[in-house]
Amino acid sequence: MDQATIAEQERVRIHLSARAAGTRARAARKADDAKQPETHSGWREELAQATREVFEIMVGTSLTQPTEPPPLFVPDFAAMVGIAGSLCGLVSVRTTGECARRIAAKMLGDDEVGVAEAAQDAFGEVCNMIAGSFKGRISGLADACALSVPTVIFGRDFTLFSLARGEHYEVTFEFEGKLLSVSLDLHG
């Protein structure tokens, strides 16, 4: 077994990098292209249903789905929750800072969210609830996996790059006319 193979095996199961645009981002996109296709029938729809449920109950908004293929957008705000156990992977939610602040405002029942931390906190909780709801929808997963506490990153020109390199499920929604992407990356 060569050193590269050993190093690959010794990597942590969930690893994320926030990378600047440029050569690294292009490398990340190549890895993204290599993601395996969906093999669990219905999991994408379960992820979509979990997201709709969280937004309807906690944000008070019904999400809509843009026509396929969803339009490209540049998110600058992302929340992530790791899943570990019989299933290992990562649930992430990506959108713009403006959209994240609007989601937080709706959750809190305010017109605006004045403190940046509130948007980060709210967006992390949204991701946490989506991950929990998804896990609860898949038979046998609720007791077999644990969730990490949420992580939120923001800024311009970053690419989320999961080394999970397994199956990839993604759904894009519109929230008050702004795009929001929810994805599940499973460990290969």
């Binding site: 029942g109 709210a122 609860g136 609720a142 506490v149």
Partner: protein, 126 residues
């Protein structure tokens, strides 16, 4: 039902506000709301304040909700305070564990004010 002194335990300040608002929407007469961001802070508040109800998350840094309930039940003055776990984790084994440690009820996030009403109000009526 007398006005309630409530302790809300969650590492998310947004979620603490939402839980507090949901209690009021559920019709609970809230006299005072105390907030803690982890189980350790919550234990200190529970030792120092008379409480009628505690709502606690499970996944929190420093001390999680399960350990908080376990230690809370060892405090004589807090032994009978109803504790409702509110969490994204909904596995049956975790629910059983929480209840066996002394939790009174369990609510899964996302939750509606109606669910809060169904689970919480009966606990306050004794």
């Amino acid at each position: 039902m007398k006005p309630a002194r409530v302790l809300i335990v969650d590492d998310s300040s947004v979620m603490r506000k939402i839980v507090g608002r949901s209690l009021r929407q559920a019709g609970l007469d809230v006299l005072q709301v105390l907030e803690a961001s982890n189980g350790s802070e919550a234990l200190s508040l529970a030792r120092e304040n008379p409480l009628d109800l505690i709502l606690s998350d499970i996944n929190m840094p420093l001390m999680d909700g399960l350990e908080f309930v376990r230690q809370l039940r060892g405090i004589e003055s807090a032994h009978e305070i109803p504790v409702v776990m509110i969490t994204t984790e909904a596995g049956e084994a975790l629910v059983v564990q929480a209840l066996s440690l002394g939790a009174s009820a369990y609510i899964r996030k996302p939750f509606t004010p109606e669910q809060i009403k169904e689970r919480v109000i009966p606990l306050l009526r004794g």
